[in-house]
Amino acid sequence: MPQKLVIEAINDALREEMRRDETVFCIGQDIGAGGGVFLVTQGLQNEFGPDRVIDSPLAESAIIGVSIGAAANGMRPVAEMQFFDYILPAMEQIANEAAKMRWRSFNTWGVPMVMRAPTGGGVTGGIYHSQSLEAMFTNIPGLKVVLPATPYDAKGLLKAAIRDPDPVLYLEHKKTYRSIRGEVPDGDYVVPIGKAEVKRTGNNLTIVTWGLMVHYALDAAAQLEQEGISIEVVDLRTLLPVDNETILESVKKTGKALVVYEANRTGGFGGEIASTIAEFAFEHLDGPVTRLASPDIPAMPWNHPQEAFFMLSPEKIAAAARKLAAY
C-alpha cells in the first residue's frame, strides 16, 4: 500500500471529493494560489478554479456563516480556518447557527459542512498557533468533532465528514502533517464518524487519547513493553459524538485508565472521558482514572525550553502510565 504523509492524505481526500461531487467546494484564507499556509490545499485551485477554491476575505465569522448558507442551499462547503486559534471569531456561527440549524428547524434544514482547522503544538507555533481548543466545541450537541491521528484516518474521516449531513469540525494536528507517514490505500474509503479505534492492544492499562498524543502514547507503550507493562491505546478519532462503548470495553478489560490530552488540564475534554469511565466502569477499576494533560497556563510558550515544558511527550506519558500501572 502507498505510504503517505497526513498532509498528503488530506489533500487527496479534498481532491477526490471535489472530483466526485461538484457541490463540494473549499473556502478560506490563502487557500488558493498560496495553497494555504501549510500547503494543505496546494494544487486544488489549479485543478478546480477560483470559484470552487475560494480565497475569502480575512473574516472567519463570514467564512463559516457563508458556508452555512451555502450548505443550506445544496452545497457542501469545506471551510478552512487558518489556525484553530483563529476559529474563535466564528464561535457564534458554529455554536448558535450551524450546530442548531437542524434541530431548531425540526429537521427542515441541515448544514452539511466541514470546518477544517490545524490544531495543537510542538511546532514552535507559540501562543496563538498552538492551541488545543476542542473543549470549547464538545459541549455543543448538533456538532461533530473529529481529530484523526494517522494518514489513513485523516483521509477516511475527511471523506466521511464531507459526506455527512451535519456540520463537522475536522481538526488536523499540524505536527502530524509532515511527521506522520502511514499506509493509505488508493481509491475511495471512509472511516465512520463516531467510532474510536484500539490502535494497540494490551492488558494492564488503557490509554485513551486523540491526535498527536496517539503517537506519543504508542511510543510510550513501546517503551513500557520493555518493562513488562502492557498498554492498550484507544484513539478516539471522533470526540463528538464520542464512542463510549469502545472506551469502556477497553477499560473494563484492563482495569486502569489514563486519559491523555494536549489541551490545558482543567476543563479539557479529558474530563468528559475520565468521568464517563469513572461512572460506567466503576466496578472494574483497579486504580484511579488518571488524567495527564498540559499545565493550566494560558498557552504554549514560543521559546523552546518552555514549549518543551508545556508539551506532553512519550516520556511524560510513560511516567504517568508506569505510576498508574504500579497502583
Binding site: S56, R102, S105, W109
Partner: protein
C-alpha cells in the same frame, strides 16, 4: 381603514395616471391585503400576550409596507428570503399563513417553523425558500450571502434577500457579510429595516450617521435609502437591486426607514426609554393607513373592497387563533428528535 372615499367615477381616470411602479392593480390589492393581515395579526398577538394566552408577542407595526413591498419586488416561490424575527409581514407575503404564525405563538406541536422549539416569528419553510433563523442579531446576514453564493455557483438567476434591523448593522457579522458579498459579487440584497431603535437604544447611540445607506460606500456596493412606509419607493429599490443581482453585478444595500410603533416585544417596558408622544406622532404615518388612502384616492380600492378585505383578514386571524389555541401541545420526549440527520 380608508378615511375619505373617492366617487367611483373618478377612479378609472386616476388609475391611468398614477405611477404604481408597474405593479398591476390586482397585485396592489394583494399587497394591501397582506399588509392588513399583518397588522391584524400583530394586534391579535398583543391581545393574546396581554391576556397571558401566549408567552410572547413580537410584531412589526410600522414595517408592513417595506416588508410586503420588498417581497413583491422579487419572484416569490423562486427567490430566497432570510428573515429575522421582525419579518412577519414579509413572511406572510412569501406565503406563510396566519395559522403557521399562530401555531408558533401558541408553541404548539404542529408549529412548522421549529416544532415550538424556537420563539415565535422564527420563520422557516423549505418549500417557500425561507431559511430558519436564530435569535442572534446579524448572524443571518452571512447566511443570505451563502445561499446566494450557492445559487450563483449553480448559475441560477435566483436572488436572496436578507433582512436585519438598524441595530444589527453594528455587529461584525453585518460587516463581514457585506464585504464578502461585494468582493465576490454575490446576488444578494441587504435590506436594512431602520426603525430607529434596537430595543431601547436609539439610532444616534448606535451609529454616527443619519443615512444608513452610507454604509454601502465602504464596501463598494450601491446603497440606497428609501421611505420604508412608501410601498412604491421600497418596491422600486428592491426591484432594481434584484435586477442588478440577476445581471451578475452583485449586492445592494437597501435601507428602508420607518419606526417601530410597538414595544420591542411584549417583554419590553418601552415607557422607560421613549416618550409616548413620540409614538403617537409616529402612528400618524402608519404605512397601512397611508397605502389604503393612496389606493382609495387613486381608485384602486373601493369601500366595499376594503370592507371585504377587513372581513377576510379578521376571519383568517380568528381561524388561525382558534386553530392554534386548540392544537395539541408538543410531546416532551420529542425534544430529543433530530439532533443529527442521516
Amino acid at each position: 381603514m380608508v378615511a375619505t372615499r373617492q366617487p367611483a367615477t373618478r377612479r378609472r381616470r386616476s388609475e391611468e395616471m398614477v405611477d404604481t411602479a408597474g405593479i398591476p392593480p390586482e397585485t396592489l390589492l394583494e399587497i394591501y391585503e397582506t399588509m392588513c393581515l399583518s397588522k391584524a395579526m400583530d394586534d391579535r398577538v398583543w391581545v393574546l400576550a396581554h391576556s397571558g394566552e401566549i408567552a410572547l408577542a413580537v410584531s412589526c407595526h410600522g414595517h408592513e409596507a417595506l416588508q410586503v413591498a420588498s417581497i413583491y419586488a422579487l419572484r416569490r416561490g423562486y427567490d430566497w428570503m432570510v428573515p429575522y424575527y421582525r419579518d412577519s409581514a414579509a413572511a406572510l407575503a412569501m406565503g406563510l399563513t396566519p395559522r403557521d404564525m399562530m401555531l408558533a405563538f401558541f408553541a404548539r406541536r404542529e408549529d412548522s417553523f421549529s416544532g415550538a422549539r424556537q420563539f415565535p416569528n422564527h420563520f422557516s419553510s423549505r418549500t417557500l425558500n425561507i431559511l430558519s433563523g436564530s435569535s442572534d442579531i446579524a448572524t443571518q446576514i452571512p447566511h443570505g450571502v451563502g445561499i446566494a453564493l450557492a445559487s450563483k455557483m449553480r448559475k441560477e438567476d435566483r436572488v436572496t434577500i436578507t433582512y436585519f434591523g438598524d441595530g444589527a448593522t453594528s455587529e461584525g457579522d453585518f460587516h463581514e457579510a457585506m464585504n464578502f458579498a461585494a468582493v465576490l459579487k454575490i446576488p444578494v440584497i441587504f435590506l436594512c429595516e431602520n426603525n430607529e431603535y434596537a430595543i431601547s437604544v436609539p439610532r444616534r447611540k448606535q451609529m454616527a450617521i443619519d443615512d444608513i445607506s452610507n454604509k454601502a460606500v465602504g464596501y463598494g456596493m450601491p446603497g440606497v435609502s428609501v421611505d420604508g412606509r412608501d410601498v412604491f419607493a421600497v418596491y422600486r429599490a428592491v426591484q432594481e437591486a434584484a435586477a442588478r443581482a440577476r445581471r451578475g453585478e452583485g449586492p445592494t444595500l437597501v435601507v428602508a426607514n420607518t419606526y417601530r410603533i410597538d414595544p420591542h416585544t411584549s417583554n419590553d417596558p418601552d415607557r422607560f426609554y421613549r416618550d409616548p408622544k413620540e409614538i403617537t406622532e409616529q402612528r400618524k404615518h402608519d404605512p397601512v393607513l397611508r397605502f389604503s388612502a393612496f389606493l382609495n384616492q387613486h381608485g384602486f380600492l373601493t369601500e366595499e373592497q376594503d370592507a371585504a378585505i377587513a372581513a377576510r383578514v379578521a376571519a383568517q386571524v380568528d381561524e388561525a387563533t382558534d386553530y392554534a389555541r386548540s392544537a395539541p401541545q408538543p410531546v416532551p420526549e420529542d425534544a430529543a428528535l433530530y439532533l443529527y440527520g442521516n
